[in-house]
C-alpha cells in the first residue's frame, strides 16, 4: 500500500527511472493541473527518436543543492526554498535573458514567452509541503516518476538511486534522484546489444 501522506521526518525523495517511461504524458497533463501551475505544464517529456524507438524520457527539475541556473542568473531571480526547492524565476526580477536555460546541465528551465519569465518544475511545493506527492509522481502509471522514502524504494524497486553527477569538472549534487543499475561508470549501450532489440523483426535472417 502506497503511503498517501508523508510526515517531515519521513524525508521522502523524488526518483526518476526513465527506462520505465511509456510516453503516455499523464505527467505532462497532470502537471498543468497542480493547484499553483494554473494550466501550465512544467515537466518535460522528450521523445528520443520515434523513428527508431518508442523511448521517451520525462524530466523534472533536479533541484540542485547549488543550482547552476541561480549561479548564472544576472538578476538574482532564481531562489531556493529552505527545503531546497529551486523555484521559477521571480517574475519582477526575471529579465528573460535565458542564461539559466543555457546553463542548466539537465536542460530544465524554459523561457516562457507568454509570461516573459523562466518557468520550471517547482516540485509541486503546494503538495509536497503538505506531505503529498507531486502531481506527476502521483499519476505516473509506470512509476517512472516516483515519490517516497529511500527505504520504501530499497524495499520494492530494482536499481540504485544516485544524486551525484559529474559534468566535466562540474560536480552537481541534486535533491532528485535517478536510478542506475549499479554504481560506477554507466555503459550507455549495456544491455542493448546481443538481444532481440538488435533486430526486433528478425529481418537480418
Amino acid at each position: 500500500m502506497t503511503t498517501t501522506r508523508y510526515g517531515v521526518d519521513d524525508r521522502p525523495v523524488f526518483v526518476i527511472d526513465q527506462s520505465r517511461c511509456i510516453g503516455c504524458e499523464a505527467c505532462v497533463q497532470a502537471c498543468a493541473e497542480c493547484g499553483t501551475h494554473r494550466g501550465q505544464s512544467l515537466i518535460h517529456l522528450e521523445r528520443i527518436d520515434r523513428v527508431v524507438s518508442t523511448q521517451t524520457a520525462p524530466m523534472v527539475c533536479m533541484h540542485c543543492e547549488d543550482p547552476t541556473c541561480a549561479q548564472v542568473c544576472p538578476a538574482d531571480a532564481i531562489k531556493q526554498t529552505e527545503e531546497g526547492i529551486v523555484q521559477s524565476a521571480l517574475k519582477p526580477r526575471c529579465i528573460g535573458c535565458s542564461n539559466c536555460v543555457l546553463a542548466c546541465p539537465f536542460g530544465v528551465p524554459k523561457y516562457v514567452a507568454d509570461f516573459d519569465q523562466m518557468m520550471k518544475c517547482d516540485m509541486c511545493t503546494d503538495r509536497t509541503s503538505e506531505g503529498y506527492a507531486p502531481m506527476c509522481a502521483s499519476v505516473c502509471p509506470s512509476e517512472a516518476l516516483w515519490y517516497g522514502t529511500p527505504e520504501e524504494f530499497a524495499a520494492t524497486r530494482r536499481g540504485t538511486i544516485v544524486d551525484n553527477w559529474l559534468f566535466g569538472r562540474q560536480s552537481v549534487h541534486t535533491k532528485v534522484f535517478a536510478v542506475v543499475d549499479d554504481l560506477g561508470p554507466i555503459d550507455a549501450l549495456d544491455g542493448m546489444t546481443g538481444t532481440w532489440l538488435d533486430d526486433p523483426f528478425a529481418l537480418e535472417g
Partner: protein, 729 residues
Amino acid sequence: MARLPISEEELIERFGPHLNEAPPGGWNADLDIDKVVETHCCFCGQQCGIKLKVHDNEVVGFEPWYEFPFNEGKLCPKGVKRYLQGSHPDRLKHPMVRDETAPGGFRDVTWDEALSTVVSEIQRIQATYGDDAFAMLSGVSLTNEKSYLIGKFARLALHTANLDYNGRFCMVSAGAANKKALGIDRASNPWSDIPLADVVWVAGANVAETFPITTSYIWRARDRGARLIVQDPRVVPLARTADLFLPVRPGTDSALFGAVLHLLIRNDWLDRTFIDAHTVDFDQAMAAVAEMTPAWAEAITGAPAARIEEAAELWGTSATGMLLHARGIEQHTKGVDNVLAAINLGLATGKFGKPGCGVTTITGQGNGQGGREHGHKCDQLPGNRDITNPDDRRFVADVWQVDEADIPGKGLPAEEIIEAIHDGTIKGLLSICFNPLVSAPDTQFTKEALEKLEFYSAIDFFLSESAEHADVVLPGSLHEEDEGTATSGEGRIIKINQAVEPPGEARRDWEILLDIAQRLGRGEHFRYDNTEEIFEELCRASSGGRADYTGATWQRIEDEYGLFWPVPSVGHPGTPRLYEGGVFNHPDGRARFHGVPYRPSAESVDDDYPILLTTGRVVSQYLSGTQTRRIGGLVEQYPEPLCEIHPILADRLGIANGDLVTVRSRRGEMTLPAAVVKTIRPDTVFIPYHWPGDKAANQLTIRAVDPIAHMPEFKVAAVSVRRAEGGAK
C-alpha cells in the same frame, strides 16, 4: 429516414467536437470546492479510483485518490483530463428532433413530445413489421444498473429479441472462450497476482497505451526478477524493455500458442498432475499441435523459432506465470480460438488458481466486465445466464414477475443487427452510448445501414457521429451525473458516485428508459425510485448464476474498496482469485482443453492488396472518441490518425515520414499522414481507429466475424498503400 439533416460540417459547427481546454471559470478562477467525490475514471476497464472536485454543480478538477488500492492515485492522461468532459459546450441539454430547417439540423422539443414520438414510432414499426424489427444497441460505458435495466427494458418493454452491445466489438471473444474452457467469463486473477508471477506474457495488448496502470503491476513483478514476454506486431512501449519480443504477424497468434504447446509437450514442461486432476480433453489439444513445430510457426507467424522456443522454456519452467491478453488476439474471426489456445498454455502447466498464476483478458471498456454479465447481450440474461436455457429463463422470469414466454429468445449480435438494418429486416433502432459509425467495421456499410432506418432514436450526452443520424435525440447522463456500480477488468465491483446533476433538461439514462417503458404500457415492470433498487434486483436476478452478486451491497462495495464476484451469499468475502484448488466452473469442476487447429484470417494479402492492416488505439483517446475528441489536452497529444509504416516498406513505396499516403482495402480508402517507424513489422501498417468520417480506420476493415463470438476482425485486413497524389511532405 435517418439521413443527416444538414451537412456534416454544419453539424460539427453546432454540436462539435469542440475542445474543452480549461476547467469552468478558467485556470485562475480559484473556486471554492463544495465537495470532493470519490469515484472512478470513466475511460477503460481498469476503472482507476479518482476524486472529482465540485463547485456549484460543475466538476472543476480532480485529485488523486491514493487510498483506492487498485491504482493508488495513478492515472493515465485520459484520467487526468476526464473531468473536462463535464461543463462542455457540446453537451446535449435538450431533447431534439431532426429538422432540416432548424439551425444545426435539430430542433429542441419538450420531453413529452420527444418521448411521444419515440413511443409511437416503436409501436408503429412493431405493429407493421413485428416486434423484432425494432432493435436496441447499447454500450458498456454504462453502469451495471443501467446494463441490467437495458436487458430487462429491451425484453419486457420493447419486447424485442434484438438487443446487443458494443462489447461485441471489444472483449466478447475472450468471454466466449473463458466460458467454454473455464466455465466462467471473468479475469482469472486480481491484478495483485501479477507481481507474484515469475514470467509475465503480454499477448496482443498494448498495455502502455490502453491499460497504462497495468504497467506498474508488471514492473512490480520485474522488480522481483520476473521475465517479460511481449507478443505483438509492433514494438509497443512496454515491449521496448521486454526480455523477449515475439513479433507476430497479425492473425497468427494461435499458431504461435500452438507451437508453444507443442514445445511444452515435447520437453515435458507439463504439470501432469494438474492436467489429470483438473482438466479434460488434453489429448485433443495435443493432437491439434502435433505438427506445430517451431519452424512451422516461424513460417506462419514471422516470430523466429528460437524466440518461440525461448518463450516456451520461460513459460514451461517458471513456477508461476501470468499471460495477459487483449484485443490484439481477440478481435479476429478466430478470436475465440486464439484465447482458447492461450488458455491451453495455462492449463498444460497448471498455471491457474494459484498466486501469480493465470491466463486472463484485460477488459477494455469502462464497464466491459460488468456490462457483459447481466443481460446486456443478445444471448444472455442476468447473472450471465443463457437466454436459451429453460431453467435460466424461468429463474429470471420469476424475478421479473412475468411469464417465461414473455421473455424473447436469442437475438442478433451487434454486427448482424447492423446487417439486418442494411437488408431491411430491422426498421427501427434505439441506441445508447454506442457509436457504430466509428467503432463498427466497414464504415460505409454502417452509414448505409443507418440511412435505411425508418426511425432512429439515440440517447447520448454528446451528439456522436451515429447520433447525428437520429430522428429523436434524448440527452442522457454522463458518468459523473448518476450513481451505480461498475465491475472492473479484475472482476471487482466498484461504486460510481454522482458528483453533479445532469445539466439543463438532460436526464439520467435509467429515468428515460423508465419513462419509455411506462408509455409503452409496461411500467409495472419498471418501478424503481433509485438505482440502488435496480442494483438490489440485479443481485437477486444474478443469484445462482455464473456471475453471482447475491451478497453484494453498495455499502460493502464502498467500505471494502470493491468486491470481487462471485459473492454467492450474504457476508461472503468475495472471490479475488478464481479456480483455487483447481476447481473450475463446469459442472464436473474440470477445465476443458480445446484442440485449436490453425486457420487463416478472413482476408489474406494478394497482389492487389499486399500489405496487412491492423488497427488499435492510442493512449490519449478512448474508443470512438465521443468524449476524448472533445478534450483539448488529449486531442493535442495525438490530433489525428497516422499510418505507422516500417522504413523498409516505406522506401519500397517511395514514402517519407509525414507524407500523405492512401491506404486502400476492398471496403474503401483513406488518406492520412505516414509515420515511418522501425517499431512495426515491415509487412504490416497500423492505424488507430478513434476518428470518424474520412479519418475512420474502419473504412478499411472487414465485416467478417468470429463464428462463435461474432467479434469482427478489426485486427487483420488486406490493404494497398501508396503515396497520395501530391502527398509529399
